[in-house]
């Protein structure tokens, strides 16, 4: 084997640039090759052209990641955690939609599309929750049993957060309404506080299993089932998101009560949030499902 020739002078800042270029690669690629590339750049003098070639090649490394670096269980766990968080936010946005539209009795007379959108939203939300719940239950039970058996109290708490956080939120909500509620509900500021607290509770409930997935690193059929169910639940939830868009746009166009009650920009911001949450949920779940159904 040839010994490395005398290295040329490394241009100032090239090391920093090399690190920046390597940071563009997927984590698995970096973990496997970044040390070697850095040594090669040092040995060869590490000119800017060499660093630029490293940066440029990061694109195919993301588009077609080398198969031997592809850790399917890690991909499923990571996608599952992201999809769960985005799904919870999307569900929260959906509940806000339900509270501010159909539960207020807003319809668009002469335009049945809004009522259809309500029905599609209700059905999709319920079905998506059922699929996510039943698909994720075996994995949740498996992790809970392992955390219990191995006496890992922190992981046990993380796994119980989907029960604890909503229960705590609902209890706080009941107390708040009893103390501050008026005959027609709470005031707008308290509604905002209650809504934000609801999102915090949903995020906490979703973060628990996500952290447990990262710490316990489960594998096997239960993980594959959960990843596949997340894909299906996300697809159904995307339908619910589409129903939200149809209903809100329909109400803005055809229902004067709704348009007068809500400032014009608020539905726009709301719809943008729905689209972002639905996109993140769908993309993450699709990546996890692809890893679940791929040939080993």
């Amino acid at each position: 084997m040839k010994p490395p020739a005398a290295p040329g002078p490394t241009p100032p800042g090239a090391t920093l640039l090399a690190r920046a270029a390597l940071a563009l690669y997927p984590p698995a690629w970096r973990a496997r090759y970044s040390d070697e590339v850095r040594v090669l750049l040092d040995d060869s003098g590490g000119g800017l052209a060499a660093v630029a070639s490293v940066a440029w090649r990061a694109i195919p490394a993301w588009v077609c990641p080398p198969r031997h670096l592809h850790d399917r269980p890690a991909r499923m766990r990571s996608s599952l955690a992201t999809a769960l968080m985005a799904w919870s936010v999307l569900t929260g946005l959906g509940l806000v939609f339900a509270q501010l539209t159909q539960l207020q009795g807003f319809t668009a007379p002469g335009h049945p599309e809004v009522r259809w959108a309500y029905a599609v939203f209700d059905g999709s939300l319920a079905l998506s929750a059922l699929v996510a719940g039943f698909g994720g239950l075996p994995l949740w039970l498996l992790m809970l049993r392992r955390a219990w058996r191995e006496q890992r109290p922190r992981d046990t708490v993380y796994l119980l957060l989907p029960l604890i956080a909503p229960a705590a939120y609902l209890a706080a909500l009941v107390v708040t309404i009893k103390l501050l509620g008026r005959p027609n509900g709470v005031g707008p500021w308290w509604f905002l506080v209650v809504t934000l607290a609801g999102f915090a509770a949903a995020a906490t409930a979703a973060a628990g299993p996500g952290l447990a997935l990262r710490r316990l690193q489960p594998r096997g059929p239960a993980l594959r089932l959960a990843a596949a169910a997340a894909g299906l639940a996300a697809a159904i939830m995307a339908l619910a998101a589409a129903a939200i868009v149809v209903a809100v746009v329909g109400l803005c166009l055809w229902a004067r009560d709704f348009a007068g009650y809500h400032h014009g920009t608020i539905p726009g911001i709301y719809l943008a949030l729905v689209v972002v949450a639905a996109t993140v949920t769908t993309v993450s779940a699709a990546r996890g499902t692809r890893a679940a159904v791929a040939e080993p």
Binding site: P3, Y33, V37, L40, V54, R57, P66, H68
Partner: protein
């Protein structure tokens, strides 16, 4: 024109040919390819090729020495290189034969 044609060189083939002699680490591969085949492989290209060849089982990593990890050609890699070399030999002989009959070119 010659420089441009050099870009058609298949980097995976160059790396396999370089490793056919003995195991080498990244810098040694680029040096060998530059000296013996006249092609400069950039760091980005080299490691994209190494990752692809490793994924296909055509080369394998050895124990790292002082942060430099050598690679060795596998049996599958040697077979792939032999097949491709055979094909290139045929192309080269056809090209030489036709150049000599049509242009009277006898080569250098």
């Amino acid at each position: 024109m010659t420089d441009r044609l050099d870009r058609w060189a298949d980097p995976p083939l160059l790396v396999l040919a370089s490793l056919a002699g003995e195991p080498k680490h990244g810098y040694a591969i680029t040096q060998d390819v530059a000296e013996t085949m006249g092609v400069r492989l950039s760091a980005g290209t080299l490691y994209a090729v190494i990752a692809r060849l490793e994924a296909r089982g055509l080369i394998e990593p050895l124990e790292a020495e002082d942060r430099r990890r050598p690679y060795r050609i596998t049996m599958a890699g040697a077979q792939a290189l032999a097949q491709q070399s055979e094909r290139m030999s045929k192309v080269a002989s056809v090209a030489r034969e036709r150049l000599s009959t049509s242009l009277g070119w006898a080569g250098t």
